[in-house]
Every structure is written in C-alpha cells, then in structure tokens.
Amino acid sequence: MIGIHKKQVVIFFCQNMGYKKADLGQLLRLPHNVSTRFVELPCSGKIEPQFLLKIFETGIDAIFVLGCLDGTCHHVEGNRKMRKRVQYLKDILGEIDMDRDRLEMFQISSDPELDIEHVVSEIDKRITSLSPSPLK
C-alpha cells in the first residue's frame, strides 16, 4: 500500500532532449519515497498553462518541466514560450498562496559536456523541502 504522505511529482519532458523515461529516472536520482510520473511531450511548449493548474488541483506536490536549451528548440521557440508560461503560472501560484517552488522549468540537454548537476540537486532540494500540497 502506498503511504498517504508519499510525495507526488509530475515531470514533463521534451522528446527532443535525447532522453527517454528510464534515462531521466536514473539521471535525476529521485528519492524512493516520491512517486514520479514522467510524461514525454513532442515539445515542452505543448503543455497549456491551464492544464498545469488542473494538475495541481488533483493534489500533485510539484511539477517540473524539462525543455531544451535556448536556441535548440525543434519547434524554434517552444521552450521559450513554455518558460514564459511557467513564469506566469508561478506568479499565479504565488497569488493564491501556494508555494512558487512547486513549479519550475529547467533547460537541459543530453550533451555529455553539459554539467546538469545543479539541475539534479535543485530538483532534489525542491522535492525534499516541499510540504504536502494544500490541495490534497
């Protein structure tokens, strides 16, 4: 039986980053007490802002969007548009008195030269520090 306080996280990621679900699970080294759902998108810009809010409504603790680096979007500016949406939604979260840290977009790629340790540690930090969603 899944514990009641198990944290729930949704991670959206762009298919063009070069990662698959299994790779990301390994890469992000998520703690075992977190239930994570990875959703692969054709582009990080696919997800509509109101849909993210709807996901929060169901009591999800945090949503992370992983998009491509600037200038490398397959759809030219999908990642840039998504970043703006995330900023906008973070403001809304702030206004309704939810933790702004529950939503974040990170831009990474599977380039082995690129150091993404700060992203991994940031996600880890966010997950460990978050209190359960007030909407649960």
Binding site: R37, C43, F51, E57
Partner: protein, 462 residues
C-alpha cells in the same frame, strides 16, 4: 433466402482518454484574436471538444484530431503546429504497432471499418502478413456496392469433421452417418488471454460477446462461465477434470490440450459423447505438421494450432511465421487426402481483420483471437501487468456489458472488412477462400521468380 447475419453495434466510448497519434501544439503567444480563428472552424470541432484529464495527464485533442491539417494551414499567424505524440509511438511493440492498437480502439468504440482518408504513406510490403497481397480483381464490379446490402456473402464456417465420401447400400439408401458439425457465423473464435490483470468480469464480457455473436470461447472452464455454457469450448486439462465441473461435459465442442496421452483422452471423450466434436490445442512447433496429420488419423475433429503472440513458431531456433506454418500443414493434409476430415483453426499474431482473410487463404478454416479482445477492452499492451504492476486503464474494473459491446463492435468491423475482401475477390462464401493461394501473391515468391534469375537466390537471413 436465409436471414442475413447481422451484428448490432452501438457506440461504446472508452473509459480513459486513449493515447492519440497527433501532438497538436498551440503556441498562443502572438495570437491576434482575429475573426478568422482556425480553432473555431475545425471541421471536427476538436478544439471545442478538447478536455484535459488531470489524473491521466491526457489531452483529448490528440485523440480527436483527424490529421486534416486545416488548422495548421489556416491560422493567419501560424500559431498551430502538429507533430506525432511520442507517447503514441511508445505503445505496443514491433508487431503490435501503435497503428494496430489505435485502429482496434476505433473499431471497438464505433463498430465501423477504419478508413485512412489522409492517404497511405507507408511501405507496400513488409514482414509477416504484409508480404501477401490479396486478389482485388472484382473490385470494379458494378454490384460491389451491394456487398453490405443486396448481395449475401456468407462468413460462416463449420467446425468438425466432414466425410471424404458418402456410402449407399444396394437400395440407394445412405448408410454413412454424417458427423455432427457446429456452424459459427464468423470464422473467428475467442481464445484465452495471454496477459492482463484478468478476472471474472473480463471473461464474462468475452463469453457474453461470444454468446451474442453466436461464436465460441475456448477457455479453461470456471464455474462463473456456466450461464454461457452453450458458447464455451471447455479446455479439459487434467486439473479441470479433477475439479468435477459437471456442466463442461455437456458442451457442444470439447477441447483438450495436446499431451503424450492424447490418444487415450480422445477415445475417452468419444466413448462418452460420440456426437461432440473434439478440439485439440497444439503448439506450432517444427513437429506440428506430422502431429496434425497424426491427430486427424486418431479422430480429432478440430485442431487449434497456436504460435506466440507475434505469430512465430515455438520451440525453434529460427522460427517461421504462422502463415508459412499453416500453409505447410494445409498442403500436407491435402497431399494425404485428409484435409476435409479436420477443421484447422490458427491463433497467434492475428491482429487485424485482414490477417483473418490472409490466414484463411493460407489454409486455415478459421482463427482464434486473443490479444485483439484485450485491446478492444482498452488495453495499451504496455505489459506492466506482466511485471506485477497495476493496469493504467484499470481493465479489472470493467462492466461486462460494456466490454461485451466493445468486442461485438470490433467483430462487426472485422466482419465488414471480411465482406469487403470477399466482395473484392468475387467470392460469396468464406469457406471457398480456404487455401485459395492462387488468390494471393506472395512477395518473396515474386521476388525470387522475377529477380532470382538475374541476381541469384537471396542470401542472408531470408
């Protein structure tokens, strides 16, 4: 004229938003709020129907979209883009492709023949069943429009043994006793499911569908299936016989798994119930050809040969495909003058309606299907259940009526497609299609005949 076989279909929507092929992307930023919004003029109204299921994390637009690209072309600022949903491409495997799964869902939902209006962009030949082209020479016939209406095309098959000849006495009276035959209106029998979080409800749904369609379900019998006893072919393994289920001995057809002692088992059943045809379930191994011949001589009426879920030969280092195996068995029986003494049904890798027609052309009388039934019940073939994980579409919680209707819809769509294939060939009986290999072209044979003389035999793994 006998009453026409008709299947009652009813639209049966899925319980979960199916994974759609398209990935529609609407950038929004830069929208002029103009009066010519492409989203309001969608022919299928998918933007109005659009919902987001926040528990499944599924956007319904990807399922409703019909790929007409009208919105992509008509947005004045070009804010709509379309691509393929990566989650869609991850469904199934190399044999059970996302296209097969999603078209099965469509058929199970609507009961209609799937039509791809956006043109066919794929290859014209492939592996397995895709290297067969069926005869469509009669497709231009003026009465072609009548195949679903005026003309009667029969898709029934007989299960059981037929006499090679009739004997009469000196007064001209028939003395040979005709063996009992069981007629089913579709050349399709339902089989046991190879995976899934299976429970009573799922089998009840399948049994109900078998009952309403007039076909059978070959299954290890359980007490809960008793209401549908007339449409069950009980698989009597030793373990079942020990359980003492009385009603299974009354079944119209009795099935046995193949074993070393099969001869004795057949004799035992024949003594108890001489009129019931006996079906033997036999794996398609390299020895299958000899075993089918032997079983026929021992008095088996129906042989059910099964390959794995991809239609590959079992227990073989270089497995052949089911169609080659069935062809070999059929031709061997023809050579031995005993083809009509046995009914041959095949299973494994039958994923689409065209596969039914194709395997019948290769020499089977009918098919037994398993995975398409599961897909009709919304299965995504993710195989999570084989790892002991929970089912993403909670298949264990279905309503039997809903499940039965989805299966009936699928069978109606397959029946419609069989009529199309038979109509295009100018046949009026699916029984006539059996072993009609002259009605199909086999790519590998053609390649050998045409190019073999120039380039020599094909080398490598083929």
């Amino acid at each position: 004229m006998p009453k026409k076989y008709h299947i009652d279909t009813r639209p049966t929507p899925p319980r979960f938003t199916p994974i759609g092929k398209s990935g529609v992307m609407d950038w929004r930023t830069g929208c002029l709020r103009c009066k010519r919004c492409a989203k309001t003029t969608c022919v299928y109204g998918v933007y109005n129907l659009r919902t987001f299921n926040s528990r499944q994390l599924a956007d319904s637009i990807d399922y409703y979209c019909k790929n007409c690209f009208r919105c992509v072309q008509s947005c004045p600022v070009g804010l709509i883009t379309k691509t393929i949903n990566p989650e869609y491409l991850e469904m199934g495997d190399t044999y059970w492709t996302p296209d097969i799964i999603s078209s099965t869902w469509y058929q199970a939902e609507t009961g209609k023949i799937p039509v791809s209006g956006a043109g066919y962009g794929g290859p014209f030949v492939g592996d397995g069943f895709d290297d067969m082209w069926t005869d469509m020479s009669e497709i231009v016939r003026p009465t072609r429009d009548g195949i679903h209406g005026r003309e009667y095309i029969n898709t029934s098959i007989d299960l059981g043994r037929k006499l090679p000849y009739l004997s009469f006495n000196a007064e001209g009276k028939l003395i040979s006793e005709p063996p009992s035959l069981v007629e089913i209106p579709l050349p399709i029998i339902f089989g046991e499911l190879p995976m899934g979080n299976l429970n009573e409800t799922i089998y009840l749904a399948i049994a109900q569908a078998a009952y309403r369609l007039g076909t059978f379900l070959v299954v290890t019998p359980e007490e809960f299936l008793r209401p549908y006893a007339q449409n069950i072919i009980p698989l009597l393994s030793q373990e079942v016989l020990n359980r003492n289920l009385e009603w299974v001995h009354e079944a119209k057809i009795i099935a046995l798994p193949h074993s070393e002692t099969i001869k004795q088992s057949i004799e035992r059943i024949k003594t108890a119930r001489s009129e019931a045809p006996v079906l033997v379930k036999l794996p398609l191994t390299p020895k299958a050809k000899e075993l089918v011949t032997q079983l026929t001589m021992e008095g088996v009426d129906i042989v059910h040969v099964y390959a794995d879920t991809h239609g590959r030969e079992l227990e073989s280092t270089s497995p052949r495909f089911i169609k080659e195996m069935v062809m070999e068995i059929h031709l061997h029986l023809v050579e031995k003058h005993m083809r009509d003494q046995v009914t041959l049904v095949a299973s494994g890798g039958i994923a689409m309606a065209e596969h039914v027609a194709k395997i019948i052309i290769c020499g089977a009388d009918g098919v037994v299907i398993d995975l398409p039934l599961l897909v009709a019940l919304e299965c995504r073939l993710c195989k999570d259940c084989l790892q002991g994980e929970s089912c993403p579409v909670e298949i264990q919680d279905i309503e039997p009526d809903w499940g039965a209707q989805r299966i009936i819809n699928l069978m109606s769509a397959w029946h419609g497609q069989l009529l199309e294939v038979l109509g295009a060939m100018g046949l009026r009986e699916i029984r006539r299609l059996r072993g009609e290999m002259g009605r199909a072209m086999f790519y590998q044979d053609l390649e050998r005949e045409i190019f073999g003389a120039i380039f020599g035999e094909k080398r490598g793994d083929n």
